[in-house]
Amino acid sequence: MQQNFPIRTSEIALVSIVDVSLSSIVQFGDRGEATPKLKALAVQRAIDHTKAGSVYFESYPIFSRPLPKLVDPEAEAGYDVCIQRVNHCPRIKVGCVYVTAVGSTASFLAGNAMRTTAESRIKHIRQYEKSLIEIR
């Protein structure tokens, strides 16, 4: 007779995290749904910030383009996949976990989740000053 535990619990001895930033999640325990989102414009220009003017998300199509859809002809044809999980052991044991950085809608989760939908859109602009005519 095989034992089946409905859920598994996670046991961790030690967790060490240095940095958590930009819509990231660190969670100990179970969760239903998480939808972290990030829009970032990283501007690095050789100009004074007071003279550079504003930057707008609306100027760049990366922030408004639709999310890609999963194309799965098998599922559309009705060939569904029925997943069944059998947990023979009620826990996951982990010793020490060392993480340096968690960033940009990433998540660190010790526990169970039902649904996670993370979205990060990052646009970099790097501009260096250079004259069109060479000045000697």
């Binding site: 990231s24 060939y79 029925c82 982990v94 526990g111 990052i122 501009q127």
Partner: protein
């Protein structure tokens, strides 16, 4: 209909070292039903501009656009 059965036997891990979990990534010790991770990162080599500095483009409806707070001075 395809039946897929997963048998989770005992799982024990000694230690884990991670430098970074970044841009819509996920590190989980546990079970998940649905995971969807989107990441758009726009930094091609061409994104480096070397030339005379001109103001960055403004969108058509600038008044309604969600820009950064105006700088003092």
């Amino acid at each position: 209909m395809l039946n897929f059965t997963v048998h989770n036997c005992g799982l024990t891990v000694g230690s884990i070292e991670i430098l970074g979990v970044s841009a819509a990534s996920m590190f989980q010790i546990g079970d998940s039903d649905y995971v969807t991770l989107y990441s758009m990162f726009d930094t091609p080599p061409e994104s480096v501009i070397a030339g005379p500095i001109a103001p960055l483009p403004t969108p058509e409806d600038e008044e309604q656009a969600a820009g950064e707070a105006p700088m003092a001075g």
